[in-house]
Symmetry: C2
Subunit: 575 residues, 2 copies
Amino acid sequence: MTDKIFRINMTDLTTGIEDVPAAWAGHGGRGLTSTVVAAEVEPTCHPLGPKNKLVFAPGLLSGTLAANSGRISVGAKSPLTGTIKEANAGGSGAQFLARCGCKALIIEGQPRNDRWYSLTVTPEGVVINEENEMIGKGNYEVVETVTARLPGKPGIITIGPAGEMRMAAANISVKDPDGGLRSCGRGGLGAVMGSKKIKFIAIDPGDGKVDIADQAKFRDANRAFAKALVDHPVSKALGQYGTNVLVNIINEAGALPTRNFTSGQFDGHDRISGETMHDTIVARGGKPKHNCHPGCVIQCSQIYNDADGKKLTSGFEYESIWAMGADCCIDNLDHIAEADRIMDDIGIDSIETPVAFAVAMEAGVLPFGDGPGVCRILREDVAKGTALGRIIGGGAGAVGRAFGVTRVPTVKNQAIPAYDPRAIKGIGITYATSTQGADHTMGYTIATNILGVGGKIDPLTKEGQVELSRNLQIATAAIDSTGMCLFIAFAALDDQTCLPALIDLINARFGTSLVGDDVVNLGKSILKTERAFNIAAGFTSVDDRLPEFFYTEPLPPHNVVFDFSGEEIDTFWNF
Amino acid sequence: MTDKIFRINMTDLTTGIEDVPAAWAGHGGRGLTSTVVAAEVEPTCHPLGPKNKLVFAPGLLSGTLAANSGRISVGAKSPLTGTIKEANAGGSGAQFLARCGCKALIIEGQPRNDRWYSLTVTPEGVVINEENEMIGKGNYEVVETVTARLPGKPGIITIGPAGEMRMAAANISVKDPDGGLRSCGRGGLGAVMGSKKIKFIAIDPGDGKVDIADQAKFRDANRAFAKALVDHPVSKALGQYGTNVLVNIINEAGALPTRNFTSGQFDGHDRISGETMHDTIVARGGKPKHNCHPGCVIQCSQIYNDADGKKLTSGFEYESIWAMGADCCIDNLDHIAEADRIMDDIGIDSIETPVAFAVAMEAGVLPFGDGPGVCRILREDVAKGTALGRIIGGGAGAVGRAFGVTRVPTVKNQAIPAYDPRAIKGIGITYATSTQGADHTMGYTIATNILGVGGKIDPLTKEGQVELSRNLQIATAAIDSTGMCLFIAFAALDDQTCLPALIDLINARFGTSLVGDDVVNLGKSILKTERAFNIAAGFTSVDDRLPEFFYTEPLPPHNVVFDFSGEEIDTFWNF
């Protein structure tokens, strides 16, 4: 079937199917969401008003059998950062949407009344239904109830109470094949979905399939691609310990932000590490290895059970564990897992929210290390939208402003994740220059600064960091357009067969003849499109800076500050 | 005595007296605070961090017998707007500071510990004392206790609990001769004072006097100047009804923002009007006419008693009454007066805070019209710093972000005051282009749009509004440098003897020979200095815009929108 644009207008509750404009044809995933947002959203509009649009797009390879191609992108103007925003997640959303022949789902307008709705997407198009039963419910209940309510096993994209309440840290969840939740986490896109009064989107592709121009070539390329992925040592580590393998590594590097970014090492690192987590999972009969979408060959997810052997959470990531762990000084993995489950259920970013808690701890709202306190506030305040819940749900910047705290680790109002930019300087360049606020996934210099992937650049020197971040941000923008999980990047950087195989996959899918330079140019062009949106929204190079304390407070144990000048940072954009 | 710079470093708790740099000599009031902030504060610094500086400056004529010359300016980078900021107030601060020979008090740094301090300023310099007794106390108690504690009748500048808690809407209060409070209201400068851990500043000039170069010329000029002021009809109206004379006038114009800016007229306008207020004051034995500083010949202040004849509040201004009244739909003047007293005591802006309440009412936090509810939240939440109090104390923008409200009347995150820019378009240009966020006092086009002062320009047409705002903003910047109350502007616009007399006063004070063009050039140069700071802080023309809803929601009864394009607004800066 030919891919189409599915458009939903929530002001007049109409839907339609449109041909794909020629300019959008070569785009997928983030490339497409950013292209649509840049083309159709006024950069100065209110992110929660009727002029913003919420765009879902599977990647170029989603819906095929290509390994690790199941990421779904969602884009809009962010209520957290005010920038253009894309967040992506696994789950079955991308594959099902692609199999509906939907290249992008564009949701515009806003109901004039207070009613709530759901969308059902099939190859025939989109139906809007009024929704009452699920309003106010957590994501787990939505997934369970909607799965039972609808025939087949629909893909489900949903927001929790945080999104309904339009909290700036609200995320969008995507059901995985086992009923777990995968999050388009960052930038508050759940609040945009909430502002459009859409509680969930059910996707039923029926027998819909994605066309492949050259099946044989596709199969061969996929075999080579998957082999490159599984052979890479980082893939193996991810499969064994999950992303949480990083706790001990980053702690050893002195770059594990601890106690609201006042130290680079956490005394309790062993108790929250990937190794400890692995052993705990095994001892409790959980799954140390689990895939978030069909076709993943890395399987960095896991199922973490509580002490009674009951499933507590999955997709339990390093950045979330770091944030609730080291940054909040909580050294009890069960408390962290419980908080993770609640955050997934409320539908709120599990990086932004714990970083917000750490700032609140510095303000004296609760003590550092108080895991039960965090879970209580999540349940009784954030989920219920009390004033304190609203402040926490507004993210780290909101907490800092409310309590007059000056040590607030954000860039463009988005919380800095799990790698201190003083001790890993390359990632600082990514945080500063990313078109979307502080985000490690935009240009993951940890690969080269710490893991020795794609070469090795000393994390403590300034030399080479801008170029490293630039190259990675360009490559990431391209990868984010394919529907591929970012974890293909390790193999892509080290294994010369990987990237050609990926390009072969795209060419086999569409009958095109792209070469490596096309991919690089695609990445550059996406970054420039995103940056142009931000400039039109009022951003300047002054926004491409880290908060003051990174320049003035040395981070133990290396006792280093972030020492790039503004001019040095700005050379990032010389391409 | 020769004027000096008094400098206080709160990091190492040292003070010093410095000569006035030549470049600062011709500046006073806002001209001086903005010049110092632009010269010494990094535009990108955190407003509540050690790099911000808090600058107090009397005007060029403060401390003399010149009529209406008792305004004190305070400047810093604003925690509310992120821009450069100046706020000014009456009271005895300016006159006493000038009589100490203090041209500017520059407070820099920040204590490294948690102790609180007070400053005592005399002609000999500044002494820093640790302060315990007053911490956590309201402004009224501070004024009473410190007056009793110190010999003479010191001038007092103080912050309330809001400033101590570094709320973005916290103001700085200045004692008036009767122990009443005058507020440097806007932009959260009280939070900056709180961040420097200074609870209050006592000023004792002793026998200190301001030098006058030509006493006879000064006396003559002052006579002509005062006559121009008292003769103007607006001065008379202000003396009779206070600034609150405007409720009925602006309501009649259909520009009285009501129910969180959804209408231009308020059913309850008669019950909160200046006329009603005047009759109530007289009936209860209050004072309908009262001066906020010695030498004021307009006397727009008043003392408003409660039903038992006990003083409730003074300096009860139109903008505060509008905000708590029409904007929150509270039509009971006693409730508004009680809220005004509490806000003065807490030390929080009585424009920003009620506008924040109106947004909270739209969010459903409390019902529109709930005066007792407002007073309860002010006492139990804002004063005590609960989470709800922190949200309200963060201003209208913070409330909008916390509750996901899109109708939030702010520019550069500062609440739009009492004149709807859809129905009075000139003031919309001022709100948009002001270097300090939405602020009617920056270029009060109401004079010409509504009051027929300085000519008449139809408030509903676009023609002439940009030029009007530009001329008034330039003139205002100059007037704000003299220590003069802005209400001299009505006479200055209409009476040809007024402005020459003012210039004569300055020349007589300093032995200079300024002419009219010098004043205009001073005003232009101050605006450009302020704008350059903002640009370096990351602001662009995109920030010189009104919120989206002013362009899309027609305001009854005229059913008009704000329809200036960005390009049209930007012509403001063509000078």
